[in-house]
Symmetry: C2
Subunit: 214 residues, 2 copies
DNA sequence: ATATTGTTTAACAATTTTGTTAATACAAAA
DNA sequence: TTTTGTATTAACAAAATTGTTAAACAATAT
């Protein structure tokens, strides 16, 4: 009675929130086309009319998820930049590690983002303009540091963009293709945590050797 | 009149073939859920009833494409093994190059395969058992050769599976994430062919340094 | 010529999926 | 207590998509 107001607010937030949680799961695993609003509603424990009541259309609900996921992805891009206060080689090492951990915590994200970009590139042009400027600046800074370190003979003078693509490739592909590789790799991947730790170490080792002074 | 027979045979093969070509394009770019049989029929220049006449259901048409694409993918796996008559380091170098070229010729394939495996793993269990034994054997052979070369001091004693995962990661990710990276990388990717050549060289260089004797 | 077989079309049927609406309940505020 | 706005449900509507069928048509063989 006296707390029915708060209860209802909670319930309301709960339903809207449950729908978002269910929608995230559904869209990330099945994509926009494979997702069903009825399936999302069912997973959220509400009637499908409620889903439309809160989010109007499938498209709008999807936008909500996409926005959040693109924000998350931006963070992963920043993780790869590493800690600017460290010496450059350590910074890159830390960047690889942080990026790997980030992707490990969001293993469904890369496939979702890539599928979105490939299937509807025009949707994301605006979003892209924003972050590409920032990225460009960070590339520039990193390259400057690399060049200085190279002149001091601490590492090879490498193209930062190429190195970052290699890092992203190896870190992301680990999770992107996990279900594909798992049945092919036998004992190596039997213990998931052990494999991921080994993979992370391998990625760091590979890049470290790539940038090491000969 | 007199050539109507041959014309019609041609036309028939043409229609069935046109549908397959259109279906391949549609399924590879949009996936099973995003693909529309009407859209495929339209692209093939036939009524959608014809599509059902030749392939009965969307599912069966899809199976045809999937089978062909999985076969293609198997070939790419073999390309990465390189030429057994070469010394092991050259063999690996050649394998990276051949694999890169293979993926370059089938740039839509990796995303398609990964999406399939992730969204319907149970569908491919049978298919997997077949190739995993072959793969295991090849891994074993390669590892044997690597071990011998390492004992002769020609290279570092590395885990072949890890190296192959790294190669696949870097080669495949290049094409998988191309639309994602292109707007972020500025001049580097302005000329696609130039970028791909540079990327191929970078992948080879990275792996060569990884397996090189310290 | 005629029967047979396979091809093609147009119209239709069935199903799935998204989205809407009218009726209802219910709490909060006036 | 009336009013107002929000939440909820169930039933319905609309659209898209896949799949079917009957009949027309063409090719080939008998």
């Amino acid at each position: 009675m006296f707390n029915s107001k708060t209860m209802d607010n909670k319930e309301k937030q709960n339903k809207e929130c449950q729908i978002l949680i269910a929608a995230e799961q559904e869209f990330l695993t099945k994509g926009y086309d494979g997702a069903r609003t009825t399936s999302i509603a069912k997973a959220a424990g509400v009637t499908h009319a409620m889903l439309h009541y809160y989010f109007r259309t499938k498209e709008q609900l999807f936008e909500r998820i996409v926005d959040e996921k693109f924000a998350t992805m931006s963070h992963s891009m920043f993780a790869i930049m590493g800690d600017p206060s460290l010496p450059i080689v350590e910074r890159i090492k830390g960047g690889i590690s942080a990026h790997f951990d980030f992707v490990a915590e969001n293993p469904l994200l890369p496939r979702f983002i890539i599928n979105e970009i490939v299937t509807r590139p025009e949707h994301y042009e605006v979003l892209y303009k924003r972050i590409s400027l920032i990225i460009e600046t960070i590339f520039h800074d990193l390259q400057f540091e690399v060049n200085r370190a190279a002149e001091r003979g601490e590492m090879e003078r490498v193209d930062v963009k190429m190195i970052l693509i290699s890092i992203m490739s190896m870190n992301i592909f680990t999770f992107l293709a996990y279900p594909f590789m798992e049945p092919l790799m036998g004992e190596l991947m039997a213990d998931r945590d052990k494999f991921l730790a080994a993979r992370k170490a391998e990625n760091i080792e590979t890049i470290m050797k790539r940038i090491k002074k000969q």
